[in-house]
């Protein structure tokens, strides 16, 4: 029955369909919250679904002079990376479907795949906005990846394991947001950077470079990138909640926690002005990385004393 279980886990729950729909639901909540913060009504509940179906059914224009195979495959890899990462995290507070020691590192790299693919996709098309967008996306990735890794390793160190399930089990009894507030902040902001949300949306800043790396994508490719992003939003929220906000719990409570986190994220998105790319990098390396490191030192010193 192992095979059947694997198929179900991959296609329906928690991978595959479930995570796609859940991701779209989170995306809707995000958009709706931003709209409410801006005193508007905002999109209807099925908006991300309609957007995705419409894009999938739309003509896909493949520009000439691009590597057509890369152009088609990159969005698939991006979505696959995001979907695969869902298998290792405690979606809606349930035990992860698969688990092995060191899966935290694998998950983080799977999550980076989306940005990498976006960057490659942008560099693949010859459009100038895409090129600038790709450069910015990769620059931003190099700036937030290290601090975020440090931030997520904080819980790993106190839990003395690299396994997501063990860390979230440990976090159940320790609200790490209290002991490691800086790590929490860096992780949340890092998640926003990963998803290129405002104020870290310089790689796809509409008023400067149209749609960044995805300017040339239409139809299916765009839909897959969008879906990948919404899946990553869900996975990222789950990860941060599991690590910092009291670990896995019953699904309802866990869901409520992720929603609370989403409110904070949406608030930050609507209240802050976009940073220039050099300001983003400066922010991460000057403050993010240093603060996370400082927290490490304090933690290690504390452990040494205790």
């Amino acid at each position: 029955m192992n095979t059947l279980r694997a198929v179900i886990a991959l296609l329906f729950f928690p991978g595959g369909l479930f995570i796609l729909f859940a991701g779209m639901a989170y995306e809707w909540v995000d958009r709706k919250l931003i709209a409410r913060f801006q005193n508007r009504i905002g999109p209807r509940w099925f908006q991300p679904l309609a957007d995705s179906i419409k894009l999938l059914a739309k003509e896909e224009v493949i520009p000439t002079d691009v590597n057509a195979i890369l152009f088609v495959v990159l969005p698939v890899i991006a979505l696959a990376g995001a979907l695969a990462s869902a298998l290792y995290v405690p979606i809606i507070g349930l035990e992860p479907s698969y688990s092995f020691s060191g899966d935290l590192i694998v998950t983080l790299y799977l999550l980076s795949l989306l940005t990498l693919c976006t960057g490659l996709a942008g560099a693949n098309t010859l459009d100038r906005f895409s090129l600038v967008g790709a450069t910015r996306a990769l620059t931003q990735m190099f700036s937030y990846e290290a601090p975020v890794l440090l931030a997520l390793l904080g819980p790993a160190i106190v839990a003395e394991s690299w396994k997501i399930s063990v860390i979230s089990e440990y976090a159940k009894s320790h609200w790490l947001i209290i002991t490691q507030p800086i790590g929490f902040l860096v992780a949340v902001i890092g998640l926003m950077g990963k998803l290129e949300m405002p104020p870290f949306d310089a790689p796809e800043a509409e008023t400067e470079i149209v749609a960044g790396a995805l300017t040339e994508y239409s139809g299916r490719g765009l839909a897959l990138f969008h879906l990948g992003k919404s899946v990553e939003l869900m996975v990222g929220l789950t990860l941060v909640t599991a690590f910092y906000l009291g670990g896995v719990a019953n699904p309802l409570l866990f869901f409520a926690k992720t929603l609370m986190l989403l409110v904070v994220v949406a608030g930050v998105q609507s209240l802050l002005t976009r940073l220039r790319i050099e300001q983003t990098v400066g922010l991460w390396w000057r403050y993010g990385a240093l603060l996370a490191l400082a927290q490490f030192l304090v933690m290690i010193a504390y452990e040494g004393v205790a």
Partner: protein, 392 residues
């Protein structure tokens, strides 16, 4: 127009670009994220309005000229009306002049709030954009209530105005102004103290006093650099001598100063509108206007929300103007964008561009720089031919 060319990577902005709601083609040479050169190609919105006035009567021309620009439509019509009225040696009744001032100031409010929102949108601060546009609806509602249309009010007729202000409308305006004043105070706080927003505006696109004089900047852009020039004060037209305006200037010359100048001008507008409502002269709305205008030529200048608007009108004694020349405020300001752009980040380009409050539909006039074209009278066919060749 060009400033410093290099053979680097070129980023085109426009004709279709989300930062610009109007088509205009800018090219920025960049070295990484740093802009090393900028050039612009104008003329996408060139429609041939000045020539168009030559086969329209004065009445028709007024509506054509009102549509030079949709945002500052009233000032265009006012400038034309004041000029033609001067040629015809009549004067609009005082009540009409006061209503012109009132609508012009309401329009200034709508234009500045629009700009505040667009500026915030370019910086990626959509919440400010949404709120300022939400509040802008208040003034648009007032305009719709008074004149019958939200934009392109068509308030003016030659010799007066069409719409009157009754007591109910006056009360509605006062009420709207109270709300707007409260919100504007809040926005002044936002643009001067929001840390993240200031990171994008403070010290960006600095134009010193000397530079603004050299580049010939006008309007709020120049006033943000300390140039105390405002036609409403210097050469009061319509009823501005009766309702004096105070000059607003800032000295920093950066984007923040431009935001502050425009927001402070809003307070001035509120004050002027209240003064007009308090002391609205009684009387007729129009005087009789002859269809044929006496021979002669005149210059008419008004202060548009973006700066000095200049009209030259020549009549040959018929009901059609022989020549109308328009100089709009965006054209002199455009030079400053190209100069300021060099040395800034690519991310600042939309902000610097929008900082002058560009209005390309105003901007795209045919200008003959001294010596480039023979000075002669061009016929409609010649112009069309020139247009076809130029745009090929």
């Amino acid at each position: 127009m060009q400033s410093q060319q290099g053979n680097k990577f070129t980023i085109p902005i426009g004709p279709q670009h989300p930062a610009l709601k109007e088509p205009e083609h800018f090219e920025f040479n960049v070295d990484g994220e740093l802009v090393t050169g900028a050039s612009v190609r104008l003329g996408y919105v060139h429609r041939g309005i000045e020539k168009g006035t030559e086969n329209r009567s004065f009445v028709q021309s007024m509506y054509l000229l009102e549509r030079v620009c949709g945002i500052c439509s009233h000032v265009h019509a006012t400038a034309f009306c004041l000029g033609v009225e001067r040629l015809a040696e009549i004067e609009a009744p005082p009540r009409a002049q006061a209503i012109r001032v009132l609508v012009a100031e309401l329009e200034r409010i709508h234009s500045h709030m629009l700009w505040l929102g667009v500026g915030a949108h370019e910086a990626g601060f959509d919440t400010l954009f949404m709120y300022s546009w939400r509040d802008r609806e208040t003034v648009l509602n007032l305009l719709e209530d008074i004149t019958g249309n939200r934009i392109n009010y068509s308030t003016n007729v030659l010799g007066g105005v069409k719409c009157d202000i009754d007591r109910e409308q006056a009360a509605a305006i006062r009420q709207g102004l109270d709300f707007l004043e409260e919100r504007t105070t809040h926005y002044l706080d936002v643009v001067t103290s929001d840390m993240m927003f200031l990171r994008r505006t403070r010290g960006v696109g600095v134009m010193t006093y000397d530079e603004s004089q050299r580049l010939g900047a006008v309007g709020p852009t120049a006033r943000a650099s300390g140039v105390a020039r405002d036609l409403r004060v210097d050469a009061a037209y319509a009823a501005y001598d009766k309702y004096p305006v105070n000059l607003v200037t800032e000295t920093a010359g950066d984007l923040e100063a431009r935001f502050v100048v425009r927001i402070k001008e809003l307070f001035e507008s509120f004050r002027v509108i209240r003064a007009v409502l308090d002391d609205l002269p009684e009387g007729d709305l129009t005087t009789r206007m002859p269809r044929r205008v006496k021979e002669g030529d005149t210059i008419s200048r008004v202060e548009a929300p973006r700066g000095e608007l200049f009209y030259y009108i020549k009549s040959n004694g018929t009901d059609t103007a022989e020549r109308v020349k328009v100089r709009t405020p965006t054209l002199p300001n455009m030079a400053s964008v190209l100069t300021l752009a060099v040395g800034h980040q690519l991310a600042d380009m939309p902000m610097i561009l929008v900082g002058i409050d560009p209005c390309f539909s105003c901007n795209d006039r045919m200008v003959s720089v001294k010596g480039t074209l023979d000075s002669q009278c061009w016929t409609w066919e010649q112009l069309r031919q020139y247009g076809i060749e130029y745009y090929r």
